[in-house]
């Protein structure tokens, strides 16, 4: 007979289905996260659900060992910059290496590749995000009350306000901006990698 769980299995069951019935279960996520045994129950319930849907989803190796390996790698991941709401935009100048042939954006946590999001007004940087030879000059802008078409979006730099209309115009600019020697392939591809957000 197992020791008593810190988290009742009924609550784990509710969490699996996204149901929260009683006040006790409201704290279940916290408890679940600190209780390895409860996480095993979470895992078992999900295996059951998956296998009911398709026998192909039965685990052929240890899922928990997979997670352990993953957690060791995640422990090496850099801590994401904390977003600070700050209306003052710092202007940072640094040393540009004249012969820099490899340019690294060190504040980006990895090469997942993500959508470029336009932002209006607020550039949020924290000093911890800027390191080493990748120093960036940031232009300060005046912040005014946000118009309705601004949408908050998450980027590597933190929360940025994104103006959809401005995105549309930028896309339109890129669409017709091929009048340059440097635009092909760099420019066209650059445009192509950015496109999509405004459509």
């Amino acid at each position: 007979m197992e020791q008593m769980n810190l988290v009742p299995n009924e609550c784990i069951c509710d969490l699996v289905d996204g149901q929260l019935i009683s006040a006790d279960c409201a704290q279940a996520f916290d408890a679940l996260l600190s209780d390895r045994r409860a996480m095993q129950t979470w895992h078992a319930y999900h295996v059951v659900g998956d296998v009911l849907r398709s026998s192909e989803l039965a685990p052929s190796g240890s899922d928990l060992a997979f997670l352990e390996r993953l957690e060791r790698r995640l422990a090496d991941e850099p801590v994401r910059p904390v977003v600070i709401q700050d209306n003052r935009v710092p202007v940072i100048t640094g040393l540009a290496s004249a012969n820099a042939s490899v340019f690294r954006w060190k504040m980006l946590a990895g090469l997942a590749g993500f959508a470029l999001v336009g932002a209006v007004g607020l550039n949020l940087w924290t000093p911890t995000g800027l390191q080493g030879d990748a120093q960036i000059a940031v232009q300060g802008t005046v912040v005014a009350p946000a118009p309705k078409s601004l949408v908050a979006a998450e980027t590597a730099a933190g929360t940025m306000l994104r103006d959809e209309r401005l995105d549309e115009l930028m896309a339109a600019h890129r669409q017709l901006g091929g009048h340059s020697a440097l635009q092909v392939p760099a420019g066209f591809l650059r445009n192509a990698t950015y496109e999509g957000a405004a459509r």
Binding site: K148, L166, L169, L176, S180, V184, P185, A192
Partner: protein
């Protein structure tokens, strides 16, 4: 499987010279421009700036005068762009929408060089910086240096044999990198299944949308530049239809004019639409990272948005020079 090989142009072979400090600029620009059009290649392309990173896979083939290109996004909204010469279709598989358009700006560059008042050399100079191996290719590194403060500089890694640009950095007025576009991996002269590539441009199963872009002239629209901005020539003027509001955005009730300028290297678009007090509330610039800057300004009953890969001062010059014809 077809092997498609495009001949190296006469320009290309003429460029096989020892590195010198000053290279004839126009010839160099033409060479790098042609290389992209006439080489066969495939690779992964990454654009990075302070605002983020975006990447795509690209396949490019050509057959004499015809070019076929496919760009598949590896980041952001899933999309694929298929191009056959100047016909471009952008596929959005999640919504099953395909946007078909003609981009006549592609290929205009050689005409720009041929025109008698071409003066790119008045505004840029080329400096050779040496050789470097990048993405597995020997490349020559150049600095395309602006001669004034109205445009950005560029560091260019150009593949030795063909001139294809493998990496491009846009540099601000202090020489700091604003944006970098580069092949993270590249196969030149790749063996590409052209038939399959061509088939990937098929729009079956997609709802095809053709944006309505009318070619016009600034003059016909009633606009002029009271004073030209150094080095920039008008490239074309278009009228864009009203945009339906989407997802919380407000769209635009009227046509928007887009007036495009270029100095041969950088491009600026001037967007003009009717002023709308509810939407047009912030004048000034917006810094989104990267090389593209924007500037918004009210001009009587109009709202002007200037967009371009140029310093803010240049956008200001455009916005201030724009005036309604008398």
């Amino acid at each position: 499987m077809l092997l498609v090989v495009c001949g190296v142009t006469a320009q290309g072979s003429a460029m096989a010279q020892p590195v010198v400090n000053e290279t004839p600029l126009n010839a160099w620009l033409l060479r790098v421009h042609q290389a992209a059009r006439q080489s066969v290649y495939t690779g992964t392309f990454v654009v990075s700036s302070s605002a983020g990173m975006a990447s795509a896979r690209i396949w490019h083939v050509c057959d004499g005068a015809q070019q076929i290109e496919r760009v598949e996004s590896l980041s952001g909204i899933p999309r694929a762009i298929f191009r056959h010469n100047d016909q471009v279709v952008t596929f959005f598989p999640q919504s099953k929408i395909a946007v078909a358009e003609v981009r006549e700006s592609l290929g205009l560059f050689p005409d720009l060089l041929k025109s008698s008042d071409s003066s790119i050399g008045d505004f840029y100079q080329l400096k050779a910086l040496g050789n470097e191996r990048i993405a597995g290719f020997e490349s020559e590194v150049f600095w395309l240096q602006p001669k004034d403060m109205m445009r950005f500089g560029y560091r260019v890694w150009s593949e030795k044999k063909t001139g294809l640009i493998i990496q491009l950095q846009t540099l601000d007025l202090k020489g700091k990198v604003l944006e970098q576009s580069a092949f993270s991996e590249l196969q030149l002269g790749a063996v590409v299944n052209v038939a399959k590539l061509t088939r990937s441009g098929n729009t079956d199963g997609y709802r095809v949308v053709r944006p309505d872009l009318q070619k016009t002239t600034a003059d016909a629209q009633g606009w002029t530049l009271q004073k030209p901005v150094d080095g920039f020539k008008p490239m074309g003027c278009y009228q864009r239809p009203p945009i339906a509001p989407q997802q919380g955005g407000q769209g635009s009730a009227q046509n928007t004019m887009q007036w495009v300028f270029s100095d041969g290297v950088a491009t600026v678009s001037l967007f003009v639409e009717a002023f709308d007090g509810r939407r047009h509330t912030r004048e000034g610039s917006a810094d989104m990272g990267g090389a593209t800057h924007t500037l918004m300004r009210r001009l009587d009953n109009w709202w002007v948005t200037a967009v371009g890969e140029v310093p803010l001062a240049t956008l200001s010059a455009f916005a201030l020079a724009l005036e309604r014809k008398k």
